[in-house]
Symmetry: C2
Subunit: 294 residues, 2 copies
DNA sequence: GGGGAGATATAGATGGAGTCTATGATAAAC
DNA sequence: GTTTATCATAGACTCCATCTATATCTCCCC
């Protein structure tokens, strides 16, 4: 390892062999001919092998030089490919973007951004990785995703959080509970109806449980489901009153298939946010995407 | 091509990625850590891409860095193989030696050298390429052989000639002409016997024709053959008197199966020589072999 | 054969890229 | 809190790649 050869010399050798002329190689490298001559000499000296025949028309590879060239040519081709790939990655003509989050946020919050992004950068592969907030955080820390989209607040010194839009959770019912339309209920009154909540381990569920607790109540759902779509479906079928994010229901509220229950207490809004690792550089693809989100 | 990247930086990048530590890479490269840090920064700046995550335990490749590494690793492996190969060629642990010449010279002159050489450098491939003197010269100039072994004199400014041993051509006969043993013949007397000569286009043939011509005679062979072995065989069978190089017959002369005809004129000796291209470097294999020959 | 046009080689000067030392900043380990 | 890793930064220095100028050689053409 003492006599490790300067790889820059191979670049000179490559061009000299390729052009068959030290003078031509010099031009291609934007240096002078003596520099090329010197570089080749260094290579020859460090191998103790003559690499070129010199004649008045230029240079030609010796037997040994030709052997060296066969390796160096491949090596340099790889480097060229690497540089091309780096340019592509930089210009977002290649790459991959991996996002963690919940399906409902993907569908109702991220979808328009993803569509626009994919249209503009069609060669960036997209991976959406479903998981709960703690799972998403774990994926982030393990480097399995570039960014996570979750409900705030997130308190973790390792994470950088960018706030997104505000979401308002609310209780909704379908035609079966039409008598409640226009009325303002107390929490106590609400609890007399069958309640449908998201499954126990979600953040939204914990938030609403805590809110009721603050008011001295203990909310117990009739039904627990595992997706926002089911919350909506069950409410529409009249199986109960669902607690769900209002922004995810705009279609049903417009149609009138579901209506919002008015309460005498304010349900705190939540905010969606984009998490990335603090002190860890984002890929070009991820950096650009984060700037899309407002 | 303006922003051609210094390939030396890839060597640093490679080791940094491989060891996962700028400090370790620095040690392997016998430079200091800030130099490595600087080199990586240059690479990152010229790509406009972050290649490593830095943390207090070392460095880890980013997504893009890992892509670059996959190329550079291959490239560097090729360079290592190239350097290994060069060392082998230098130490004559690999390579090829191509020699041009006549079969008789290969067999009777070069064989012992070839044996010894091959024993010492078993991994050098040997190619013996048969041809007449002008053919051998052509092969040399075309680069198809490293050196040629032929009868001197050779006059060609492009060729470098190293003189070898002296050979003496002579006329020999077998038991059938036993009456000639011990006698001294004139050329005229000799010509009364059937003569066996090498085929018309050989140098030896031309030389003897010219010699007879100088003495006013025109030698016409009874038989013409294409190899030294046949000259010897035919003489042994008593088909005539062969003109052949004495050194190629030592076995037959010792055994007494053939004897040399004494003449009243001196037959000029010829010298064997090794030709190489002037001003063209020899391969390590060829250089070493030429030094074997004395 | 002389001279021009091309090639590479050589010598010596020069400047800047790469390297060093010293230090800072940060995180983890103890 | 202290120590010991890590990488980053700043500024000085130095060595080596490069340059200019010239030599040498070969071919080719007049």
């Amino acid at each position: 390892m003492e006599s490790m050869i300067n790889h820059e010399l191979y670049k000179v050798f490559y061009l000299a062999a390729k052009t068959g002329s030290l003078t031509q190689a010099a031009k291609a490298l934007y240096i002078t001919q003596p520099s090329v001559s010197h570089a080749i000499k260094q290579l020859e000296d460090s191998f103790g092998i003559t690499l070129f025949y010199r004649n008045s028309k230029g240079v030609a590879l010796t037997q040994e030089g030709a052997i060296l060239y066969s390796y160096i040519e491949q090596s340099n081709i790889l480097i060229s490919l690497a540089e091309k790939k780096m340019a592509e990655l930089k210009n977002l003509e290649a790459g991959e973007l991996k996002i963690g989050g919940s399906d409902s946020l993907f569908k109702h919050y991220l979808l328009p951004y993803l569509e626009k992004y994919h249209k503009q950068y069609p060669f960036i592969g997209l991976s959406l990785i479903h998981g709960t907030t703690p799972e998403v955080i774990t994926y982030l820390k393990e480097g399995r995703i570039d960014l996570g989209v979750v409900r705030l607040p997130i308190v973790d010194p390792q994470l950088e959080v960018k706030e997104g839009i505000e979401l308002q959770d609310c209780f909704v019912a379908g035609a079966h509970f039409a008598e409640l339309k226009g009325k303002v209920l107390t929490l106590e009154q609400l609890m007399e109806y069958p309640i449908i909540l998201f499954s126990r381990n979600s953040r939204a569920r914990m938030a609403i449980t805590e809110l009721f607790h603050d008011y001295g109540y203990d909310i117990k759902p009739e039904i627990e489901v595992g997706s926002v779509d089911l919350l909506i479906e069950f409410a529409k079928k009249g199986l109960g009153i669902s607690y769900v994010t209002r922004e995810f229901l705009s279609k049903e509220l417009d149609e009138g298939t579901l209506f919002e229950i008015q309460l005498d207490v304010h349900l705190p809004p939540s905010r969606v946010g984009v998490m990335t690792m603090r002190n860890v550089p984002l890929s070009s693809a991820a950096k650009t995407f984060v700037e899309y989100i407002r």
